[in-house]
């Protein structure tokens, strides 16, 4: 087995002072050095909460109930904001969905990259600034010397996201968490940003945790995929396995509901939907949380939560996993 650089074990996050209202219901996974792990799911599944927990950026309204997050073998002090400041950017970088929100509108973008470097490393100004220009060049921004002095509102969404990526990678972190990095961007810009991330990964060996709802992105950029549903890990597998032989009915439903022009004729012009909606986090149901929306659900599913099954690199939590290959 490869070398896990980030390891999350049985992470439970609840609404503050309400241990019965769980947002994450015990999630475990790991990220290997240099790989891309995609975390996929719909809103409310807990994927963003997972990334915020790793960064020690949990909102005030929630708290960690149990579980550990280990980075290179040692536990991250996620509740200690001061200690986490040393980890952020230096060891784990983060890219957000809204690049505009991640940047301060009052400072030139180059200064903001510089600030990240100076926060973590003692460097003479000139060397740090040279590093800023180097970073902006690496993320393919045109005329980095001039662009470094531009204010955020002068740049396009794609350029801003490149600046944010430069900031996230400024101190050579080992892991980069990208939370819906391209959702706010046009599809052509999305491709450029994903290509950039993959190229930077190839050059620096950074591991990427890609949080997304877009299965198309996953298919072409991730090594492994973790599918989440309503605070649980539903399935985890190498990308190819997950797309070709998904075991969990939610994964299957998600794949079928995703428009795919190459399969459109087979579907007769209509998409296959998953009926119903995600259960409320306050719903105390004891069984599988997907059971109310699942076509194969039995009494067992409604009564007991399925324990994870591991088959090599493929894991899933389902009493009645699908077995046939999906073509």
């Amino acid at each position: 087995m490869a070398n896990p650089i980030l390891q999350v074990e049985n992470l439970q996050i609840c609404v503050r002072k309400k241990p019965g209202v769980l947002i994450l219901r015990g999630v475990s996974f790991h990220v290997n050095a240099g790989e891309t792990l995609a975390i996929v799911g719909e809103s409310g599944c807990g994927k963003s909460m997972t990334s915020l927990a790793i960064m020690g950026l949990l909102p005030d309204a929630v708290e960690k109930l149990s579980g550990t997050i280990r980075f290179k073998g040692r536990e991250l002090p996620i509740a200690d904001n001061r200690a986490m400041r040393k980890v952020r950017a230096a060891e784990i970088g983060m890219v957000f969905q809204e690049p505009m929100a991640a940047l301060d509108p009052l400072y030139p973008v180059g200064k903001q990259v510089l600030e990240v470097i100076e926060e973590h490393e003692k460097l003479p100004r000139e060397m740090a600034w040279a590093r800023v220009i180097d970073l902006l060049t690496k993320v393919d921004l045109p005329n980095p010397e001039t662009l470094a002095w531009s204010y955020p509102h002068k740049l396009s969404g794609g350029q801003l996201q490149r600046v944010v990526i430069a900031m996230a990678l400024a101190c050579n972190p080992d892991v980069l968490i990208a939370d819906e990095p391209t959702t706010a961007l046009d599809v052509t810009v999305q491709a450029q940003i994903m290509r950039l991330l993959k190229r930077l990964q190839r050059d620096t060996g950074v591991a990427i945790v890609l949080i997304t709802h877009n299965l198309g992105l996953v298919a072409h950029t991730a090594d492994r995929v973790m599918v989440m549903y309503a605070g649980n890990k539903a399935e985890e597998a190498p990308t190819r396995d997950l797309f070709l032989s998904p075991r969990h009915p939610y994964t299957r439903g998600l794949l079928d509901a995703t428009p795919n022009p190459e399969r459109a004729s087979a579907q007769g012009g209509v998409l296959r939907e998953i009926p119903g909606t995600v259960p409320s986090i306050a719903d105390p149901m004891s069984g599988c949380r997907f059971a109310p929306r699942c076509g194969n659900a039995s009494e067992l599913c409604r009564a007991r939560f399925p324990e994870p099954t591991i088959e090599g690199a493929h894991g899933y939590a389902c009493h009645h996993p699908g077995t046939d290959a999906r073509v």
């Binding site: 491709a191 994903m194 950029t221 794949l255 509901a257 428009p259 459109a264």
Partner: protein, 270 residues
């Protein structure tokens, strides 16, 4: 009654934003047949939403013609447009801001009937309830407020409100782009069924070519205020003619691991 429901000829729209004049729609011509779904696809800022707003009379055109069922409706004032309102309705993108937060759901759906005095006062509520059922909302939720519903359910409310007057043309402005994949499929299927059952025509505005390709009859590709390519959906997808369409298709990640990644995703691509 001709077969063409909507015809747009050489439409230009320009307006002032602050001190600068912008020109988001630059000479668009298209037609939409009865019972047809025409998808209008483009990236942000291409003018597709301005075009929709102009057809709906929310934005005055600077020149050109919009003919609805043979009647020119471009530049009609609010009063003149009122006659056409019941025929052209619209579903908005954001399910959170598109419903008045202080109105109950049944009120929201009933309101258009009240305004146009359609049907007897006593039967309007019944119509609203029928419409709720038709879009898959239990009628006993009628007394609730919009914030008690999920995004997908709110979009159903918006659809019920738009369809309660039995329009011929529904303009859908990115109706599913704020929704999750599984909910997106529910709404697309609902729209598809409603179209079949009520004989509607759709002008479907989207940034997602892959999505519209699965259900639109024709696709118009819009780029910088102009339509650069228009044709049957299948054909646009499999045999794109314009450079912009090709570039977009090259960048779309198809969720299929058996095919190679799209060209724009390859690391060595430039």
């Amino acid at each position: 009654m001709s077969n063409t429901l909507l015809r747009i000829d050489d439409l230009h729209v320009s307006f002032r934003v602050g001190k600068t004049m912008i020109h988001p729609v630059r000479g668009i011509s298209l037609h939409l047949d009865r019972g047809e779904t025409l998808a209008l696809v483009g990236e942000s800022g291409c003018g597709k939403t301005t075009l929709a707003r102009t057809i709906l009379g929310l934005q005055a055109p600077s020149s050109g013609r919009i003919a609805y069922d043979g009647n020119d409706i471009a530049g009609l004032d609010r009063f003149g447009l009122k006659r056409f309102r019941p025929h052209i309705q619209c579903v908005f993108q954001d399910p959170f801001s598109s419903l008045n937060p202080r109105k109950r759901v049944e009120q929201l759906i009933r309101e258009p009937l009240d305004i146009h005095q359609i049907g007897e006062r006593s039967t309007r509520l019944k119509r609203a309830h029928e419409m709720m059922e038709r879009v898959g909302l239990p009628t006993d939720w009628g007394r609730r407020f919009p914030h008690e519903f999920s995004g997908g359910q709110r979009q159903r409310i918006g659809i019920a409100r738009a369809l309660v007057m039995q329009p011929d043309l529904l303009i859908c402005d990115e109706p599913v782009s704020a929704l999750d994949v599984s909910i997106q499929a529910q709404i697309i299927n609902l729209l598809w069924e409603l179209k079949r059952d009520m004989g509607l025509s759709y002008l479907f505005i989207s940034h997602d070519l892959m999505l519209v390709e699965t259900f639109a009859d024709r696709v118009a590709m819009m780029y910088q205020g102009e339509i650069v390519e228009i044709g049957p959906a299948r054909q646009v997808w499999s045999n794109p003619q314009h450079e912009f369409t090709r570039r977009m298709i090259d960048a779309i990640p198809v969720p299929d691991v058996t095919r190679p990644p799209p060209p724009a995703f390859r690391i060595d691509a430039k």
